[in-house]
């Protein structure tokens, strides 16, 4: 079975926002959409599902043209084989959990009783045993999200659109459902699109990542690509890296009038330089030795993350360093303190913009 998705979508709300993106999702692969709030991710879902008419573009799923504005063609939502987990679930408030889950089966032609039976059988898998007869208003947030997930997955659609499907789940369930989802996704031969704000989730579940910002795709590639070579500040935040934009020449990058030595002497012109937080060292006294980049600055923020501490330093370059709690205690670092920053030239990777 083939089943690829090719989508070119251009749609706008008022003058404020315009989404103009293009995807190509081969069958059996998962694309993660990541992006800031309001970037247009949910709008992509609505457009693919047929809930928002698009202004211009063409969507082909498994050889079937879902939309083609040039031909004036737009399949209604119910004729697209698209399963959607909505960001805010949109469970039917008048139906019980079982009826919600069975809805798609009935709509796709299963008998009422058979559909309910399959739906009820699917509940345990989603951690919903015993909740089958509840109404959505009687569910907790996480339970409701699981119902939404179950409702979309049981119909086995040709395209799966998951809009932050795990956001409300507790750590345990999230891990379980991540596995369930990755098993499901592995069985499921169609393309799927996963929206998430959790980079880990994206890295774990997706074959390819699209970063959408302000209605446009700003970067796409493998998780590795994004992690190692983020192209925008948002992508750098995702990767947990520091991103600097500067001018390279002769093994130096000039960022906001500050010069950093880099290993790559061939780089020139505008470059994106990334530094991993763990590659940044902090010292009380001016460090000696190999690191070629050292300067003095003040601590802006100290955040304890369990066994790691993230420290943000201030101008001239706002960077985040990651150190151990032991180091923080040993150096007695706290906000406002003056510190020396050092970075080895080899830890700064620069790539043309």
């Amino acid at each position: 079975m083939s089943g690829a998705l090719q989508a070119r979508i251009d749609v706008g709300f008022d003058a404020d926002f315009r989404l103009d993106v293009e995807f190509d999702v081969p069958p059996g692969t998962t694309v993660a959409l990541l992006g800031p709030n309001g970037a247009g991710k949910s709008t992509v879902v609505a457009a693919l599902a047929g809930l928002v008419p698009i202004d211009r573009g063409r969507v082909v799923l498994d050889g079937v043209v879902l939309v083609d504005t040039e031909q004036g063609l737009a399949l209604p939502a119910e004729e697209r084989q698209v399963g959607v987990v909505f960001q805010d679930y949109v469970l039917f408030p008048h139906l019980s959990v079982v009826e919600n889950v069975a809805f798609g089966l009935v709509a796709r032609g299963a008998g009422r009783a058979a559909a309910r039976r399959s739906a009820r059988n699917a509940l345990p898998e989603f951690g919903l045993d015993g909740l089958g007869d509840r109404k959505p208003a009687e569910l907790s947030g996480g339970e409701a999200q699981r119902v939404a997930l179950a409702r979309a997955l049981v119909t086995q659609p040709a395209l799966l659109l998951l809009d932050e499907p795990l956001a409300a789940l507790d750590v345990t369930t999230r891990a379980d459902l991540r596995h369930l989802l990755s098993d499901h996704l592995a069985d499921f031969s169609g393309p799927r699109i996963l929206i998430t704000h959790d980079p880990t989730e994206a890295f774990l579940l997706a074959d390819e990542i699209y970063v959408i910002e302000n209605g446009a795709v700003t970067q796409h590639g493998s998780a590795e690509d994004i992690r190692l070579r983020p192209q925008t500040p948002y992508a750098a935040d995702l990767a947990g890296a520091n991103l600097l934009v500067g001018e390279a020449s002769d093994g130096l990058v000039t960022v906001a009038s500050h010069r950093l030595a880099i290993a790559d002497t061939a780089a020139s012109g505008r470059v994106l330089a990334t530094v991993h937080p763990r590659a940044i060292s902090l010292h009380r006294r001016q460090p000696e030795g190999s690191p070629r980049n050292t300067w003095r600055t003040a601590i802006r923020r100290v955040e304890h993350y369990g066994d790691r501490v993230r420290i943000q330093v201030g101008d001239p370059l706002r960077l985040t360093a990651e150190v151990t709690p032991r180091a923080v205690d040993a150096l007695g670092l706290s906000v406002g303190d003056s510190v020396w920053v050092s970075i080895k030239a080899t830890e700064i990777s620069a790539s043309p913009e």
Binding site: A49, G50, L51, P76, A77, E78, R80, Q81, V82, G83, V84, F86, V90, F92, P93, H94, L95, F103, G104, V106, A107, R108, R151, T155
Partner: protein, 260 residues
């Protein structure tokens, strides 16, 4: 929240209830309880009761079949003249019943715009027939369904319908399994108003359909005629109507209205 009783609201609501309850009480006080059984057992009363049930139910069904689509269109589709159509729907409410009935005669009567051709083609004469009584009741009662449902459909979040369609539900299934259940309380309200109005319908029926026992003489018509000859019969028949509507509503309590 739940525990506090809002006294000013309760006071106003009690005043409203009294406005409805006291006249009923006044009516009950003047009711000739002794002769009641005999009056209600009479053939005239039984015929009228039966016809009232038939025509009011018939009108409600027709109103549902025609009125619901109209309400849906008014609420969901933008089309030129929408406000005008909505105004048109209210006509039967504001037209004096006799005028409304006369207007129906001009249209659906033997010599009417539509009635003439119908008569020629099918031999069906609406006036003086039970169909005519149903038509008159529908004309008068349908606006309640249309207007109530338009309001309810406008209030409804369309995202549920969207979600249903992504699950593969066609328009009809969406309507039946999502839209209507979600507006059930308003639909119940609209149907009850429609049915009650049809049950109480008098003016247009008398003018359009005439008054023939067993064919077009519904309870309100029987009451009107009885008022001319025997007031006791009129009061007794009125109480039958009160009893029917109370019974139906109390019985509907759980089924339709939904628990709160």
């Amino acid at each position: 929240m739940r525990s506090r009783t809002p006294w000013p609201l309760v006071a106003l609501a009690v005043a409203a209830v009294l406005l409805f309850a006291l006249p009923l009480f006044g009516l009950l006080v003047r009711t000739p309880w002794s002769g009641l059984g005999e009056i209600l057992g009479s053939e005239v009363a039984r015929d009228a009761l039966w016809l009232s049930l038939v025509t009011s139910l018939g009108a409600t069904i027709v109103a549902l079949i025609l009125g619901l689509p109209l309400a849906w269109l008014l609420a969901r589709i933008e089309f030129p003249g929408r406000a005008l159509v909505r105004g048109l729907v209210l006509l039967p409410l504001v037209l004096p019943p006799v005028v409304g009935g006369a207007a129906l005669l001009f249209t659906f009567g033997r010599r009417g715009l539509i009635g003439g051709p119908i008569d020629e083609l099918t031999g069906l004469v609406l006036p003086f027939s039970t169909w005519g009584a149903v038509l008159a009741a529908t004309f008068v009662a349908m606006p309640f369904l249309v207007i109530t449902m338009e309001g309810a459909l406008r209030n409804l979040d369309t995202r549920y319908e969207g979600a249903a369609s992504t699950l593969g539900a066609g328009r009809w299934m969406v309507l039946r399994r999502v839209t209507l259940p979600l507006v059930a309380p308003s639909l119940a309200a609209g149907l009850v108003l429609t049915w009650a109005r049809a049950l109480g319908e008098f003016g247009a029926t008398i003018t359009f359909a005439g008054n023939l026992q067993g064919r077009t003489q519904t309870l309100p018509l029987a009451v009107f005629v009885a008022l001319e000859s025997d007031r006791d019969v009129a009061v007794a028949l009125s109480l039958v109507m009160v009893a029917i509507s109370l019974t139906v509503l109390v019985a509907l309590r759980h089924r339709w209205w939904g628990a709160s």
